[in-house]
Subunit: 329 residues, 4 copies
């Protein structure tokens, strides 16, 4: 994860960029955004759709939303938001470990916890821990993990009763709302990760420059349903030795059986190999949406790749130039 | 959709098959199941996971769950339930048009409707219609479309107040709970479909026999991350002229970047071409799960296919047999 | 076949181009060359090797040799001459129908023919006709069809006895040596064709410009022996929708089992699709030799091609340029 | 090379097999045949065509002809003989190092050699050695290397003057005709090899059984001219991890531009992977000719192959059988 803001956010534009994220305040989406811009003002939006819409309409310049989770898979609202409507581009990605804490108002001890609140998804991920550590605790549903934390904080500040003793939320939310953490890493299954993307309108700032370790996101609509149409498209990557890091089908229309493909691959649109593959897709597919090239921040590294090196691409171009100029080839 | 029960359910087994579905009573899942077994006793389960678990443990012999929706995409719980755990097979598929009605207790007129209740997903799909036809109506969330309908029915039978005037639910639910329908097809976007599958333990009944228009479901785990690993697997279908009707990646593990692929293709495991493709996948993939061959019921038909015909497969086998026997080839 | 000389031969160079051909005078190779430059001085060389060598050393600027025959297949000396040694490029191709005549000194009648002479290959191709039309004639071998014709002509001019009554040769040779033709099209199997190429040193004249119906010749050395190495190379053509018109393996080294491939494909090196394919080959192969792009003259036309059009290539490049410039893609 | 006769020749048939080879006596073809059947009577035929015809008509049961040379490439007559006409199968292959000796009548010393005779191809391969070791020697053409050796032998036995002092021939020929060898390995370029095949009518004897290191020969006619038709055919090998050891295009018809492909691959028709690939070719090609499976004797070994092992093929078949029987897959 970059410790400086990504290129799109450092443009020496007269006005500072405005940020939005999938709220409420204290969610993992805000935590992800804060790893990039720790202090910039940012608006919490009610949903992924609303966050995307805020960027489209210009209410925000950059929006932060989750795109996939290592347990749940892709986030449909984000994938579909990128596949249709006015074009948006990913300008950065952030990967966060999904970890929960048991947060309480200062002064509450574990023995005092009779009721806990959180979003039902989060509840499902800590059930075993709760059963072992807070056996009798009742569960109070909340609309988000952050909302549960905020309710405790409001009880503290405004005296409004939260209706429960503890919140299960992100460490970030506990810290943001001034809560005490009674236990951390309470998730039953360790190691889950969520990947977030920062979205922007094309041209809002300079596109992220190649860093040598980048990813490119695309949405691809096949031209027809037939054996081999998908392979023909994917062959465009294989032929150039480009590794796919994610491929996900999404419904493309109202009827079953029509799909588009949300694809991430290694490399930057400015790279010769990626440029060639994109042109190849453009030729054989119904439609290709370029959804951005940005520095890789998912903790992995570009697959070693048994494909040709960047030098081989440059050498091939130089050779072709010589041949076209009439030299011996 | 078959108007007779599928093979798995017609075995002249001594004991009748027991059914389960993703409940509650009156949901689309029950409606789907009823197209296959109109009258058999069937248990409503609390979730997709619970339905799948009921089949695995033997509490039910056949379970009916949604697997994909033409707007929302794949149903993660179903896809993941088929990809891991004790093996299950699909023995039939049912495709339903997703359509909503405005249901009320007998006697209620449209002008009387001040409050409506339904699941939030359904509410999102009829919002424009409501705004136009029942402008001032307040929305009361429900845990499912069927639960809203049932609440109205309970008010009718037991006098327990539902807390709202109308339910937005499936036509099937209105009928099941004895409600009046004030308006039908009220969804804002027409034509959405959901595909359901009937799951069984392998060997519970006879597997569905080839009908000439079948589908086969698989889960495929690639051996390694490299350019071309997915293409190499898909090539197994292309080489035999087999059309894919669905491909969906799902997370395969705790970390990002590892996927398995849920795949439906044309044809039956008993077909030469499908058998060969399955063997090819078995050889080049880390793991292949066979998830069933069953009659196609999705309203489509097998893609015309520019691949070789079944006759060409039979002719090739006969030719090979002759050559192996020492005849001229 | 162009009725004007190809570009390489029309350069307004101070010195006229010098030509060579696989002799002797009157062979099909000279006939092929004469369709391009009817009157230019041209030297007959003793062999294909000698013709190629004459171009390499600069003794000639353009050499004409046969490259393949529709019955015999590729001409090894030509294929190997292009695959190794100092680079040469094809600047034009000529396809001739292989047809033979029975040529005699003026005054000789068919009834007078007791002995016929020609090259043994040609003799094999007219045997049935001879048996039927000149039943008792004895056969006298000659080193080439043209040599047989020339011997008759020498008897005429210098009184040196040829030692036979008739020659079986190309119509061109009969005409060139002032002989009478007693019968034409005497070949037993009609329709055979030979394809000739005009070779030049790269840069000798301007390379042939794209005409919209061109061919490109290559020699490709694979990097390794393994399943798929050849397919990986050929995939570079398929991915860009380029049709191969000829592919021929040739030994590449002293031991068996190592081959290089002599390939002709549709299109011109200046075309986007061909340029991309050449770069792709350059990246995945041990070595690629560009052997020229030149107007198609083989009577065929570019395969309709289910690949993308030239417009699609241009559109893809324009789209990539826009995307790289930061516009919406 | 097997030191026991190949299966086809060891059948306990009542009548012994009759052999033919591309003659005359003493050629490399006879030498190749003798490595398999040292003593069996064998007839020298005048040409490759005549040898093949002798097998077709039943005059011989097994014929030995050259099929490719590491310098000259494929032998057209053999390739075309296998591609058309009544089917024949290869039952064994023999690879010989092409090496020449300078052979003389007993008593002739190197200093006495004033004239040498051999076939023009052989002469071309020893020219440098002759120039260095027998500087002034004149060259007398012969119709074959063996014919030159035989002429010397006849001078010895019958007193018929050969017309030259020394023959350049195979070591085998010198030995066969009782000549002295003044020098061996006199070829200018070392290491050239010729591969010979033993041909039979299908069913003449038992086909060679799998040995674990076999080759299979095919002739493949593509269905149509289009980008990818050849790749589609070759993909049938790649998908099953089968290495090609030779691929050679040959004209298939009277006009240019139509080819068939003579292909050798690793493996035996009885192997699962080869059987599957052959069936795949049969389905996608206009025509496939099976030209035999036989033990590999070319000094190489099957390419390590990154394809699945024979065990993986067996495991895949067993898995499919289980799945088809209704077990969990």
């Amino acid at each position: 994860m970059p410790d400086t803001p990504p290129p799109a956010t450092t443009a020496d534009a007269p006005a500072p960029l405005r940020y939005a994220f999938f709220g409420p305040v204290g969610t993992f989406s805000e935590a992800a955004l804060r790893t990039v811009v720790p202090d910039a003002p940012a608006e919490a939006m009610a949903s992924v759709d609303a966050t995307i819409e805020a960027v489209r309409t210009g209410r925000a310049d950059v929006g932060c939303v989750p795109i996939e989770n290592s347990v749940e898979g892709g986030v449909p609202a984000t994938l579909d938001g990128l596949a249709a409507g006015e074009p948006l581009v990913v300008v950065a990605e952030v990967v966060l470990r999904v970890s929960f804490v048991l947060a309480v108002r200062p002064g509450t001890a574990l023995a005092d916890v009779r009721t806990v609140s959180t979003h039902s998804h989060a509840y499902a991920q800590v059930r075993r821990w709760l059963h072992a550590q807070v056996p009798g605790a009742a569960y109070v549903p909340a609309t988000s993990t952050a909302a549960a934390a905020e309710a405790l904080a409001l009880e503290l500040s405004d005296g409004v009763p939260a209706g429960f003793d503890a919140a299960i939320c992100a460490p970030f939310a506990a810290q943001r709302f001034g809560l005490d953490v009674l236990a951390e890493r309470i998730e039953d299954r360790e190691g889950a990760q969520t990947r977030f993307v920062l979205l922007s309108r094309p041209g809002t700032g300079p596109a992220p420059a190649p860093t040598g370790d980048d990813k490119t996101s695309l949405v691809v609509f096949l031209r027809e349903e037939r054996p081999g149409a998908l392979v023909e498209a994917l062959e465009q990557f294989v032929t150039r030795g480009i590794n796919l890091t994610r491929i996900e089908s999404r419904p493309a229309g109202d009827a079953l059986g029509r799909y588009c493909f949300s694809i991430d691959c290694d490399g930057h649109v400015g790279d010769a190999r990626v440029g060639e593959a994109l042109m190849g897709l453009h030729r054989v597919c119904e439609q290709v949406r370029f959804v951005g090239s940005y520095p890789r921040s998912d903790g992995g590294h570009a697959a070693p790749g048994n494909g040709p090196s960047a030098e081989a691409f440059a050498a091939a171009q130089a050779w072709l130039d010589r041949v076209r100029a009439g030299a011996a080839g």
